[in-house]
C-alpha cells in the first residue's frame, strides 16, 4: 500500500517535497515507514528513529498505520 507522508522544514528540503507517497508493506508500522523513507533520495537525512506523528499526536515506532492516517515525519522542533 501507499502512505502519504507529510514532511516539514529540513526534511521537506532534503526530499524536495512537503508530501510524499511512500510504498510500504502491509501491515505497516511507523518503523517500517521510516525504513522505506530512508531508502528514498534524500532519506539519508533521517535518523534511525525520527519524530513521527500520526493524526496530530506523537507516536512510538511500533504503532501500526494505514492509508487513512495522517502521518508526519518531523525534524527536531525549534519553536520559541
Amino acid at each position: 500500500m501507499t502512505i502519504h507522508v507529510l514532511l516539514f522544514a529540513s526534511y521537506a528540503d532534503a526530499f524536495g517535497a512537503r508530501r510524499l507517497a511512500v510504498p510500504v508493506p502491509v501491515p505497516c508500522r511507523v518503523d517500517d515507514l521510516v525504513t522505506a523513507l530512508r531508502g528514498l533520495p534524500g532519506g539519508h537525512v533521517l535518523p534511525s528513529k525520527p519524530l513521527v506523528a500520526v493524526n496530530h499526536a506523537w507516536v512510538p515506532g511500533d504503532v501500526s498505520i494505514t492509508t487513512q492516517d495522517e502521518v508526519a515525519v518531523i525534524p527536531p522542533v525549534a519553536g520559541g
Binding site: 516539514f8 522544514a9 529540513s10 528540503d13 499526536a57 508526519a72 525534524p75 519553536g79
Partner: protein, 171 residues
Amino acid sequence: MRWRSFRRWPVAEAAASAPSAAQSGGWIAIVEQPIDVTSLIARVSDGSVGAISTFLGTVRHVNDGRDVTGIEYHAYQPMAERELALIADETCTASPGLRLAIEHRVGTLGIGEVSVAIAASHPRRAPALAATTYVIEALKRRVPIWKCEHYVDGSRAWVDPTTSVAPSTPL
C-alpha cells in the same frame, strides 16, 4: 487572528473534576500577524487575579556566532495547536486557578519581533511565574514549529536545537 479555546475532553469529565482547565479557561493560537501582547494579557486578566506573568520570545540578531537578518517560522498547524492545547491544559490542571493565553507567530519575522507570547494569571504570583516557565520549556520540546534563520551573507539554515552550539544554561 485565529483564537481557539482549549478544553479538557470530554467536557463532562472536566466538569466533574473541579477545578479544571476548562473552568479556569484559556486561549491558544498560531498567528501570522504581529502578536498583540496587550490583548493577550487581557485574555487572562480580571478582578480575581493577583498576578500576571508574561514571557516573550524575540528574534535576536546573532545566533551561534552568525549575524541574523530575520527568521522564518513554520508550523504543522493542526498539530501545533493540538499540542499547545495539551500543554495549556496540563499546566492549568496542575495549578488550579491558573489562566493561560499563548500565541506563537509564523511567517517571516525581523530582528526584535515577538515570536511567542505567554500570559499566565493566578490569584498568587508563584503559580503564574512557574506556569510561563513550564509552558515555554514544554513548547520548545513538543510543539512542531521550526525556524529558518536568514544570514547577512544571504544564506539560510534550519535551526536544529539538538546540534546547536549555543550555551544550554539559562543564566
